[in-house]
Amino acid sequence: MTVKIRFFAQFRELLGTDIITDVSSGMTFVALIQTIAKKNPAGYTAIFDENGAFREFVILMKNGKRIDITDAAKTPVVDGDDIAVFPPVAGG
Protein backbone atom coordinates (compact mmCIF):
# COMPACT_ATOMS: atom_id res chain seq x y z
CA MET A 1 0.00 0.00 0.00
CA THR A 2 1.13 3.55 -0.60
CA VAL A 3 0.89 6.79 1.35
CA LYS A 4 1.86 10.37 0.58
CA ILE A 5 3.90 12.52 2.94
CA ARG A 6 4.09 16.27 2.64
CA PHE A 7 6.66 18.20 4.61
CA PHE A 8 6.41 21.94 5.07
CA ALA A 9 8.69 24.88 5.83
CA GLN A 10 12.17 23.94 7.05
CA PHE A 11 11.19 20.25 7.14
CA ARG A 12 10.63 20.53 3.40
CA GLU A 13 14.02 22.11 2.84
CA LEU A 14 15.66 19.22 4.64
CA LEU A 15 13.57 16.30 3.42
CA GLY A 16 11.71 17.29 0.27
CA THR A 17 7.98 16.89 -0.10
CA ASP A 18 5.19 15.00 -1.85
CA ILE A 19 6.93 11.74 -1.05
CA ILE A 20 4.91 8.75 -2.15
CA THR A 21 6.11 5.57 -0.55
CA ASP A 22 5.16 1.94 -0.08
CA VAL A 23 4.48 0.94 3.49
CA SER A 24 3.90 -2.39 5.11
CA SER A 25 0.68 -3.18 6.89
CA GLY A 26 0.60 -2.04 10.50
CA MET A 27 3.40 0.49 10.17
CA THR A 28 2.91 3.38 12.60
CA PHE A 29 3.23 7.08 11.93
CA VAL A 30 6.36 7.34 14.01
CA ALA A 31 8.04 4.46 12.18
CA LEU A 32 7.08 5.84 8.77
CA ILE A 33 8.29 9.38 9.36
CA GLN A 34 11.43 8.13 11.08
CA THR A 35 12.26 5.97 8.07
CA ILE A 36 11.89 8.87 5.69
CA ALA A 37 13.60 11.43 7.91
CA LYS A 38 16.67 9.24 8.37
CA LYS A 39 17.79 10.05 4.85
CA ASN A 40 18.94 13.41 6.19
CA PRO A 41 20.31 13.57 9.75
CA ALA A 42 19.51 17.28 10.01
CA GLY A 43 15.93 16.56 8.95
CA TYR A 44 15.69 13.76 11.48
CA THR A 45 16.90 15.87 14.39
CA ALA A 46 14.61 18.72 13.37
CA ILE A 47 11.60 16.43 13.81
CA PHE A 48 12.64 13.87 16.43
CA ASP A 49 14.30 14.14 19.80
CA GLU A 50 17.16 11.93 21.02
CA ASN A 51 14.67 9.27 22.13
CA GLY A 52 13.12 9.04 18.67
CA ALA A 53 9.90 10.78 19.73
CA PHE A 54 8.36 13.65 17.78
CA ARG A 55 9.50 17.01 19.09
CA GLU A 56 6.61 18.47 20.99
CA PHE A 57 5.90 21.34 18.58
CA VAL A 58 5.69 19.15 15.46
CA ILE A 59 2.28 19.22 13.80
CA LEU A 60 1.12 15.96 12.29
CA MET A 61 -1.96 15.75 10.08
CA LYS A 62 -3.59 12.74 8.50
CA ASN A 63 -6.07 13.38 5.70
CA GLY A 64 -6.64 16.90 7.02
CA LYS A 65 -7.10 15.86 10.63
CA ARG A 66 -4.61 16.49 13.34
CA ILE A 67 -3.00 13.54 15.07
CA ASP A 68 -1.69 14.09 18.55
CA ILE A 69 2.00 13.28 18.45
CA THR A 70 1.60 11.19 21.57
CA ASP A 71 -0.78 8.95 19.61
CA ALA A 72 1.50 8.71 16.60
CA ALA A 73 3.39 5.73 17.99
CA LYS A 74 0.26 3.61 18.14
CA THR A 75 -1.58 4.90 15.08
CA PRO A 76 -1.05 2.81 11.95
CA VAL A 77 -0.95 4.35 8.49
CA VAL A 78 -3.37 2.95 5.95
CA ASP A 79 -3.41 2.83 2.19
CA GLY A 80 -3.96 6.22 0.59
CA ASP A 81 -3.19 8.30 3.67
CA ASP A 82 -2.18 11.88 2.95
CA ILE A 83 0.17 12.89 5.75
CA ALA A 84 1.39 16.41 6.48
CA VAL A 85 4.26 17.16 8.84
CA PHE A 86 5.18 20.71 9.68
CA PRO A 87 6.54 23.05 12.30
CA PRO A 88 4.56 26.13 13.29
CA VAL A 89 6.48 29.19 12.18
CA ALA A 90 6.91 31.75 14.90
CA GLY A 91 8.31 34.88 13.34
CA GLY A 92 6.50 38.13 12.75
Binding site: R6, F8, A9, Q10, R12, E13, E56, F57, I59, M61, G64, K65, R66, A84, F86, P87, P88, V89, A90, G91, G92
Partner: protein, 253 residues
Protein backbone atom coordinates in the same frame (compact mmCIF):
# COMPACT_ATOMS: atom_id res chain seq x y z
CA UNK B 1 -20.88 60.24 5.95
CA UNK B 2 -17.78 60.80 3.90
CA UNK B 3 -15.93 63.99 3.08
CA UNK B 4 -15.14 64.80 -0.52
CA UNK B 5 -11.54 63.84 0.17
CA UNK B 6 -12.59 60.46 1.54
CA UNK B 7 -14.83 59.82 -1.45
CA UNK B 8 -11.92 60.52 -3.76
CA UNK B 9 -9.49 58.47 -1.69
CA UNK B 10 -11.70 55.41 -1.58
CA UNK B 11 -13.31 55.84 -5.00
CA UNK B 12 -11.78 52.77 -6.59
CA UNK B 13 -12.70 50.41 -3.76
CA UNK B 14 -16.15 51.88 -3.26
CA UNK B 15 -16.71 50.62 -6.80
CA UNK B 16 -16.42 47.20 -5.17
CA UNK B 17 -18.37 47.59 -1.96
CA UNK B 18 -20.13 50.94 -2.07
CA UNK B 19 -20.89 53.43 0.68
CA UNK B 20 -22.13 50.69 2.96
CA UNK B 21 -18.91 48.70 2.80
CA UNK B 22 -16.77 51.78 3.26
CA UNK B 23 -18.89 52.79 6.23
CA UNK B 24 -18.25 49.40 7.80
CA UNK B 25 -14.52 49.94 7.46
CA UNK B 26 -14.79 53.46 8.83
CA UNK B 27 -16.69 52.32 11.91
CA UNK B 28 -14.25 49.51 12.62
CA UNK B 29 -11.54 49.36 15.25
CA UNK B 30 -8.75 46.88 14.61
CA UNK B 31 -6.05 45.99 17.11
CA UNK B 32 -2.66 45.13 15.59
CA UNK B 33 -0.27 43.37 17.96
CA UNK B 34 3.20 44.20 16.67
CA UNK B 35 4.65 46.89 14.40
CA UNK B 36 7.29 44.67 12.82
CA UNK B 37 7.48 42.52 9.70
CA UNK B 38 3.84 41.45 9.68
CA UNK B 39 2.45 44.49 11.46
CA UNK B 40 3.90 46.84 8.83
CA UNK B 41 1.99 45.61 5.76
CA UNK B 42 -1.11 44.84 7.82
CA UNK B 43 -1.22 48.36 9.24
CA UNK B 44 -0.40 50.08 5.95
CA UNK B 45 -3.09 48.25 3.98
CA UNK B 46 -5.71 48.64 6.69
CA UNK B 47 -4.86 52.34 6.91
CA UNK B 48 -5.15 53.03 3.19
CA UNK B 49 -8.37 51.00 3.04
CA UNK B 50 -9.89 53.42 5.56
CA UNK B 51 -10.13 51.29 8.69
CA UNK B 52 -11.52 53.95 11.00
CA UNK B 53 -9.47 53.21 14.09
CA UNK B 54 -6.22 51.30 14.23
CA UNK B 55 -4.55 50.51 17.52
CA UNK B 56 -1.01 49.26 17.03
CA UNK B 57 1.13 48.03 19.91
CA UNK B 58 4.86 47.46 20.09
CA UNK B 59 7.49 47.83 22.80
CA UNK B 60 10.63 47.96 20.67
CA UNK B 61 12.78 50.63 19.09
CA UNK B 62 13.72 50.51 15.42
CA UNK B 63 16.97 48.65 14.79
CA UNK B 64 18.96 48.59 11.56
CA UNK B 65 18.41 44.83 11.30
CA UNK B 66 14.63 45.42 11.15
CA UNK B 67 14.81 47.36 7.92
CA UNK B 68 14.91 44.48 5.44
CA UNK B 69 11.27 43.76 6.21
CA UNK B 70 9.61 46.23 8.59
CA UNK B 71 8.50 48.66 5.92
CA UNK B 72 6.77 51.06 8.29
CA UNK B 73 10.20 52.13 9.50
CA UNK B 74 12.85 54.01 7.56
CA UNK B 75 16.58 54.39 7.98
CA UNK B 76 16.04 57.74 9.69
CA UNK B 77 13.90 56.02 12.36
CA UNK B 78 16.71 53.90 13.79
CA UNK B 79 16.68 54.32 17.55
CA UNK B 80 13.14 55.73 17.64
CA UNK B 81 10.18 53.95 19.17
CA UNK B 82 8.43 51.74 16.64
CA UNK B 83 5.10 53.09 17.80
CA UNK B 84 6.17 56.71 17.13
CA UNK B 85 7.49 55.76 13.71
CA UNK B 86 4.39 53.69 12.89
CA UNK B 87 1.91 56.36 13.98
CA UNK B 88 3.65 58.99 11.85
CA UNK B 89 3.64 56.88 8.70
CA UNK B 90 0.08 55.64 9.11
CA UNK B 91 -1.26 59.11 9.80
CA UNK B 92 0.64 60.47 6.82
CA UNK B 93 -0.56 57.78 4.47
CA UNK B 94 -4.15 58.38 5.58
CA UNK B 95 -4.97 61.44 7.70
CA UNK B 96 -8.66 60.48 7.74
CA UNK B 97 -8.25 57.59 10.17
CA UNK B 98 -7.50 57.48 13.89
CA UNK B 99 -4.26 55.79 14.93
CA UNK B 100 -3.52 54.79 18.51
CA UNK B 101 0.06 53.66 18.92
CA UNK B 102 0.82 52.10 22.29
CA UNK B 103 4.40 51.66 23.43
CA UNK B 104 3.88 48.80 25.83
CA UNK B 105 4.61 45.11 26.27
CA UNK B 106 1.49 43.01 25.94
CA UNK B 107 1.15 40.77 28.98
CA UNK B 108 -1.54 39.00 30.93
CA UNK B 109 -2.18 42.03 33.14
CA UNK B 110 -2.96 44.47 30.33
CA UNK B 111 -3.96 42.50 27.21
CA UNK B 112 -7.69 42.74 27.85
CA UNK B 113 -7.57 46.50 28.48
CA UNK B 114 -5.32 47.17 25.50
CA UNK B 115 -7.64 45.41 23.08
CA UNK B 116 -10.57 47.28 24.63
CA UNK B 117 -13.55 47.40 22.24
CA UNK B 118 -11.67 46.35 19.09
CA UNK B 119 -13.61 44.44 16.45
CA UNK B 120 -10.71 42.12 15.75
CA UNK B 121 -7.11 41.33 16.69
CA UNK B 122 -4.30 40.94 14.18
CA UNK B 123 -1.58 38.60 15.39
CA UNK B 124 1.62 40.17 14.08
CA UNK B 125 3.73 38.87 16.94
CA UNK B 126 7.03 37.02 16.80
CA UNK B 127 6.44 34.61 19.67
CA UNK B 128 3.89 32.04 20.77
CA UNK B 129 3.44 33.03 24.43
CA UNK B 130 2.01 36.39 23.34
CA UNK B 131 0.00 34.66 20.61
CA UNK B 132 -1.58 32.43 23.27
CA UNK B 133 -2.43 35.54 25.26
CA UNK B 134 -4.06 37.25 22.27
CA UNK B 135 -5.86 34.00 21.54
CA UNK B 136 -7.33 34.01 25.06
CA UNK B 137 -8.43 37.64 24.74
CA UNK B 138 -10.07 36.96 21.37
CA UNK B 139 -11.95 34.02 22.87
CA UNK B 140 -13.03 36.01 25.94
CA UNK B 141 -14.24 38.94 23.84
CA UNK B 142 -15.59 36.71 21.08
CA UNK B 143 -13.80 38.61 18.34
CA UNK B 144 -11.73 37.18 15.49
CA UNK B 145 -7.98 36.69 15.66
CA UNK B 146 -6.18 37.01 12.35
CA UNK B 147 -3.12 34.80 12.76
CA UNK B 148 0.09 35.04 10.78
CA UNK B 149 3.57 33.60 11.21
CA UNK B 150 6.70 33.60 9.10
CA UNK B 151 10.18 32.13 8.87
CA UNK B 152 12.57 32.44 5.96
CA UNK B 153 10.60 32.09 2.76
CA UNK B 154 7.74 30.32 4.57
CA UNK B 155 4.61 31.68 6.11
CA UNK B 156 1.25 30.64 7.51
CA UNK B 157 -2.03 32.42 8.09
CA UNK B 158 -5.48 31.55 9.32
CA UNK B 159 -8.51 33.32 10.71
CA UNK B 160 -9.77 32.24 14.09
CA UNK B 161 -13.38 32.76 15.00
CA UNK B 162 -13.77 31.75 18.63
CA UNK B 163 -15.98 28.75 19.34
CA UNK B 164 -16.37 28.02 15.63
CA UNK B 165 -12.89 27.38 14.30
CA UNK B 166 -9.79 25.93 15.89
CA UNK B 167 -7.94 28.47 18.01
CA UNK B 168 -4.17 29.02 18.09
CA UNK B 169 -3.83 26.46 20.89
CA UNK B 170 -5.91 23.86 19.04
CA UNK B 171 -3.53 24.10 16.09
CA UNK B 172 -0.25 24.84 17.84
CA UNK B 173 -0.42 23.54 21.40
CA UNK B 174 3.35 23.73 21.82
CA UNK B 175 5.49 26.65 20.67
CA UNK B 176 8.47 25.97 18.43
CA UNK B 177 11.90 26.62 19.86
CA UNK B 178 12.72 30.29 20.27
CA UNK B 179 15.28 31.54 17.76
CA UNK B 180 16.49 34.58 15.92
CA UNK B 181 14.60 33.60 12.82
CA UNK B 182 15.87 34.20 9.29
CA UNK B 183 13.50 36.10 7.05
CA UNK B 184 13.35 37.93 3.75
CA UNK B 185 11.00 40.91 3.65
CA UNK B 186 8.69 39.60 0.96
CA UNK B 187 7.50 36.79 3.24
CA UNK B 188 5.83 39.03 5.87
CA UNK B 189 4.76 41.17 2.91
CA UNK B 190 2.77 38.26 1.52
CA UNK B 191 1.44 36.90 4.80
CA UNK B 192 0.66 40.35 6.22
CA UNK B 193 -1.28 41.19 3.09
CA UNK B 194 -3.24 37.95 3.42
CA UNK B 195 -4.07 38.94 7.01
CA UNK B 196 -5.16 42.44 5.97
CA UNK B 197 -7.31 40.93 3.24
CA UNK B 198 -8.96 38.75 5.87
CA UNK B 199 -9.65 41.73 8.12
CA UNK B 200 -11.18 43.76 5.30
CA UNK B 201 -13.44 40.93 4.17
CA UNK B 202 -14.45 40.15 7.73
CA UNK B 203 -15.46 43.78 8.23
CA UNK B 204 -17.30 43.84 4.91
CA UNK B 205 -18.97 40.51 5.65
CA UNK B 206 -18.08 39.19 2.22
CA UNK B 207 -16.27 36.24 0.74
CA UNK B 208 -14.95 33.07 2.32
CA UNK B 209 -12.62 33.70 5.22
CA UNK B 210 -9.57 31.56 5.95
CA UNK B 211 -11.48 29.77 8.65
CA UNK B 212 -10.81 26.11 9.43
CA UNK B 213 -7.99 26.37 6.90
CA UNK B 214 -4.32 27.00 7.46
CA UNK B 215 -2.83 28.85 4.51
CA UNK B 216 0.79 27.86 3.99
CA UNK B 217 3.05 29.86 1.71
CA UNK B 218 6.26 28.41 0.30
CA UNK B 219 8.16 31.30 -1.24
CA UNK B 220 10.95 29.03 -2.49
CA UNK B 221 8.56 27.17 -4.73
CA UNK B 222 6.15 30.10 -5.19
CA UNK B 223 3.50 27.68 -4.03
CA UNK B 224 0.57 28.04 -1.66
CA UNK B 225 -0.99 25.10 0.13
CA UNK B 226 -3.79 24.86 2.57
CA UNK B 227 -4.48 22.35 5.26
CA UNK B 228 -7.90 21.80 6.80
CA UNK B 229 -7.71 22.26 10.53
CA UNK B 230 -10.16 21.18 13.20
CA UNK B 231 -10.89 22.18 16.75
CA UNK B 232 -9.33 20.11 19.47
CA UNK B 233 -12.17 19.05 21.78
CA UNK B 234 -9.65 18.86 24.62
CA UNK B 235 -8.17 22.31 23.96
CA UNK B 236 -7.48 24.07 27.25
CA UNK B 237 -8.03 27.51 25.67
CA UNK B 238 -11.31 27.26 23.79
CA UNK B 239 -12.93 23.97 24.72
CA UNK B 240 -16.27 24.10 26.45
CA UNK B 241 -16.87 27.79 25.82
CA UNK B 242 -20.16 28.50 24.15
CA UNK B 243 -21.82 31.84 23.69
CA UNK B 244 -23.08 33.78 20.74
CA UNK B 245 -21.47 32.56 17.55
CA UNK B 246 -19.02 34.63 15.56
CA UNK B 247 -21.17 34.17 12.50
CA UNK B 248 -24.02 35.81 14.36
CA UNK B 249 -21.74 38.62 15.37
CA UNK B 250 -20.51 39.04 11.82
CA UNK B 251 -24.08 39.21 10.52
CA UNK B 252 -24.93 41.81 13.14
CA UNK B 253 -22.38 44.20 11.73
Amino acid sequence: MFSRRERERYKRQMMLFGDEGQERLKKAHIFIAGAGGLGSPVALYLAVAGTGTITIVDMDVVDQTNLNRQILHFDRDIGRKKTTSAAEKLQEINPDITVNALDVKIDETNADDLVRDADGIVDAMDNYPTRYLLNAVAIAKNIPLFHGGIRGFYGQATTITPRITPCVKCMFPQPPLHEVFPVVGVTPGIIGTVQANEVIRYLLGSGELLTNRLFIWDGMQAHADEICVERNPACDACCGVTTKTMEGRRNDR
